[in-house]
């Protein structure tokens, strides 16, 4: 019993460390990316409707059920409060 608790604690710490590493890695990549100035007339590709950095309207129901069926929510992936989710 004690061993399994210890194992759970270790896996939890490992899990959090992995998260920190992954976040640092992503942030490092972002920092390393050199941004080049883009003029308005060069934005035709960025203005494509599929390039938006938000969720599509059609994803609303799936984001709603994911926020109910999973413990995590927020940061541009569905609403982070309000509503029961009692199902």
């Amino acid at each position: 019993m004690r061993q399994s608790k210890k194992k759970q604690y270790v896996s939890s710490v490992q899990f959090q460390r992995a998260g920190c590493w992954l976040c640092s890695f992503i942030l490092a990549i972002v920092a390393l990316l050199s941004c080049t100035p883009v003029k308005e007339y060069q934005k035709n590709k960025l203005n494509d409707s599929e390039m938006v950095l938000t969720n599509r309207k059609i994803e609303k129901t799936e984001l709603s059920f994911l926020s109910y069926r999973e413990g995590a929510s927020g940061a541009n992936a569905g609403k982070s409060g309000g509503g029961c989710g009692c199902n």
């Binding site: 959090q16 950095l53 799936e62 994911l66 940061a75 509503g83 029961c84």
Partner: protein, 399 residues
């Protein structure tokens, strides 16, 4: 004489045309200021799930559920005298669900009142964009009403573009002020909770949050968004009809702390690989003070055989570490101060995959000029603790 008359008429018409031009411009500017219809969306979805870890029966039992939802939204725009663009988003949604697990609030019931319910959720949002200054401000309100739950939401948001307009900072503050009916499992209805009555007492659950975002254009093909939320919840954060069975087989109502801090941080990108392929990606790390943590990773290549038709298969991976208050059926003891057997808060890995399809032909879809786009999306969800679900959605965009 005839020549002179013709010359006079030509001169007169010339003068008229000179004056007519600015008048015409003013007229069009006036028209722009009027509230005009931008687009309307009709979204309909069907969701079904099944599993065997219902929190209403203490972490065992059916989780069978179906949900049919329809949302209608309309977007209106207006340009004011200072040339600021105002956008109004009005939305109305209706869900009807059936839930086999909710039916088990009364263990003896076969098909009780809690078996199904309907939820209404209208919302209204306004935003004002000043293109010259690169700023946007907005506000919104929402309401969600069902038999045992009422939620009132409000939000304010503001954003400002960087000097070279390649980046944008955003901030949003939001709140949800919720009320829920204390409907306990039938066998636990005693004491302050009215037994078998319809006058159930209400209790509060409030959410206050701030979202910070930064979007950056990296080059002509790539853009990124960094997002971070800080969310605080207080009030009754469990659900009164969630049972927890202790190791001595005694039954209790789920008991969770009355406060919760949540911090999700995410990164989103979209990359224009070619005229026929766009890549969309998302990663999120989530941590809260109930010791629940999670990683979410999703990728969606958008394949465009033509400019008017696209297919977007997607895959989403989610890995969750359980909250310290979770234990399955008959594992908690009286020594635990807080306890839940809700498997949504347990450790698991989930996979969500499917595909979307979008058709937006010029001149209207399926021969209907007003129908500017038709989208269809299907997804299949599996969780390592045997919950499976499917969702299919249809979106019609009218312009």
């Amino acid at each position: 004489m005839k020549k002179l008359t013709l010359a006079t008429i030509a001169l007169y018409l010339g003068i008229l045309s000179v004056f007519a031009q600015p008048l015409k411009q003013n007229d069009s500017a006036y028209k722009k200021r009027k509230l005009s219809f931008e687009e309307a969306n009709l979204i309909s979805s069907y969701y079904q799930q099944d599993g065997n870890n219902s929190s209403i029966t203490g972490g065992i039992g059916t989780e069978k559920l179906t949900d049919l939802s329809t949302q209608f939204s309309i977007k209106l725009t207006k340009v004011d005298r200072k040339w600021r663009k105002h956008t109004f988003d009005l939305e109305m949604g209706i869900d009807h669900y059936t839930s086999a697990s909710s039916d088990r609030i009364d263990l003896k019931a076969n098909s009780s009142a809690s078996y199904n319910d309907t939820r209404f959720y209208p919302s209204a949002n306004w935003s004002m964009e000043n293109e010259k200054k690169g700023t946007t401000v907005g506000a919104g309100g929402s309401l969600s009403v069902e038999f045992d739950y009422v939620s009132v939401g409000g939000q304010f948001n503001a954003s400002k573009k960087t000097k070279d307009k390649s980046g944008e900072w955003g901030v949003k503050v939001f709140t949800y002020l919720d009320n829920l009916k204390m409907i306990l499992p039938v066998e636990l209805r005693s004491g302050p909770f009215i037994p078998r009555g319809t006058q159930y007492p209400w209790t509060d659950r409030n959410t206050f949050g701030t979202s910070l975002s930064y979007t950056q254009i990296v080059n002509t093909k790539l853009q990124l968004a960094l997002l971070a939320d800080v969310i605080f919840q207080q009030g009754f954060l469990g659900l009164p009809f969630h049972r927890v069975y202790f190791s001595d087989n005694s039954v209790h109502m789920e008991n969770l702390p009355t406060t919760r801090w949540k911090i999700p941080v995410s990164l989103r990108f979209s990359y224009f690989a070619s005229d026929h392929l766009i890549l969309r990606g998302y990663y999120r790390y989530y941590q809260d003070d109930w010791d629940l943590s999670a990683h979410t990773l999703s990728i969606e290549p958008v394949i465009k055989p033509t400019a008017f038709f696209s297919i977007s298969p997607f895959y989403r991976l989610y890995v969750q570490q359980a909250t310290k208050y979770f234990a399955p059926y008959q594992v908690h003891t009286a020594a635990n101060r807080f306890y839940t057997s809700n498997f949504d808060l347990s450790s698991f890995t989930s996979h969500f995959f499917g595909s979307g399809m979008r058709l937006a032909t010029p001149g209207g879809v399926l021969g209907w000029s007003k129908l500017s786009a038709l989208e269809l999306r299907y997804g299949h969800y599996t969780r390592t603790n045997n919950l499976v679900s499917d969702v299919i959605s249809l979106n019609l965009t009218l312009r």
